[in-house]
Amino acid sequence: MGAAAASAEATTVAAIVEIADDCLILGHRLSEWCGHAPILEEELALANMGLDLLGQARALYAHAGEIEGKGRSEDDFAFLRREREYRNCLLVERENRDFAHTMLRQLYFSAFMQPFWRTVAATSSDETLRGIAAKAEKEMAYHLRHAGEWVIRMGDGTEESARRMADAVIELHRYTGELFMASPARADAVAAKLLPDPESMRAEWDDTIATVFAAAKLTAPEIRVMQKGGRDGIHGEDMGHLLAELQFMQRAYPGQTW
């Protein structure tokens, strides 16, 4: 195999892993709600959504490992990397804070991922990715509906729920720009027709958010400079704490398997 082919493979792996990282890290954040959700029904909902995301991450890591061909398993990707090697966007690693923050984060993410997976399922040159995407799209549609309904209920709810939701918008909106930015690996994957250009999801995302915000009586702030860095492995302080928990078993008992 020539150097060019090897490097193309490495780029493909990197492009898939950054999406898997988004799913893993957000799935982990949702799992942190276990035992803390405001009501039993949301306890189930948060765990179920987290489970969907973990399932998507597993399929993507396994596929990346196969393309790479070096014997890395889904667990190796999930547990045996250092912070700088995780390429998730900053939005998904943000702390849960309160239920308003968590649901708004979920809305922002699902409103992007649902059209994203739908486009992957229809256009990707990679058959396995199309399969993963077709399944994931249905799951994201469900998450989008659930999160959107909560944002509307809370934004147009009591004085306290509206205040919390408005706080969450101010805190999180500046992390949404990164969803649409293509890392060098992503740009190569777009050129190779493996993945769609994230920027092409913007119209639908804007439309979804505008619909929800209108019903929720929320206003999107004008953000001049969007936060970024996750796709380069530059994370916020939250990420270190998250990984300490996520990787605890492998650090305490290196090499443990189920």
Binding site: E41, L44, Q56, K135, H146
Partner: protein, 176 residues
């Protein structure tokens, strides 16, 4: 879309064909671990039973949800059932095309209802609007005066409902 039935080769009377037909029969009867009133064939997650080029029996199964924790349990249950019938097999997980509730057979839907779980309403791929509700009939009294309690229920594949007519809570098999 109607459920593509799990397939096996057409039996022509040889011992090998008999084994394949038997494998399909055994695999089809394995119950779902979380919804034991229906089999993997009823749910449409048993995709095929065939032989690979070496003659080994290959069973293809598809997960309902990406993160469904029952996937491994189902695969082990099918493999074990075949072993008990004296058949060695390889279990393959296929994700494409993705499973949809449209593949649940009519018999499977009736079994779900009898068991107390409302089967999915309509066909997949519809509902996107916020706060739109499906009309779900109570599996016990048949009333459509029901209310969604929780979008997510006891397993990844179910939502939680309550019947306003007979006051019974029930599970609804989500439509995806």
């Amino acid at each position: 879309m109607s459920a593509p039935a799990p397939t096996s080769g057409k039996p022509s009377g040889s011992v090998a064909d008999f084994e394949l037909a038997r494998a399909l029969e055994v695999a089809s009867t394995v119950p779902d671990p979380e919804v034991p009133c229906v089999t993997v064939a009823d749910l449409g997650i048993l995709r095929s039973v065939s032989r690979d080029e070496t003659g080994r029996i290959v069973v293809r199964l598809t997960p309902t949800y990406s993160g469904c924790p029952a996937v491994i349990a189902i695969e082990m249950a099918v493999e074990t059932a075949l072993l008990s019938a004296g058949i060695d097999s390889t279990i393959e997980r296929v994700i494409s095309p993705p499973w949809t509730t449209d593949w649940i057979t009519d018999e499977g839907r009736e079994k779900l209802r009898t068991y107390g779980i409302a089967p999915p309403v309509g066909s997949s791929g519809g509902r996107r609007a916020f706060f739109a509700e499906d009309t779900v009939a109570c599996p016990r009294c048949g009333s459509t005066d029901t209310a969604k309690v929780s979008e997510f229920g006891s397993t990844a594949c179910k939502a939680h409902y309550r019947c306003n007519a007979c006051a019974e809570p029930f599970d609804y098999f989500k439509c995806i």
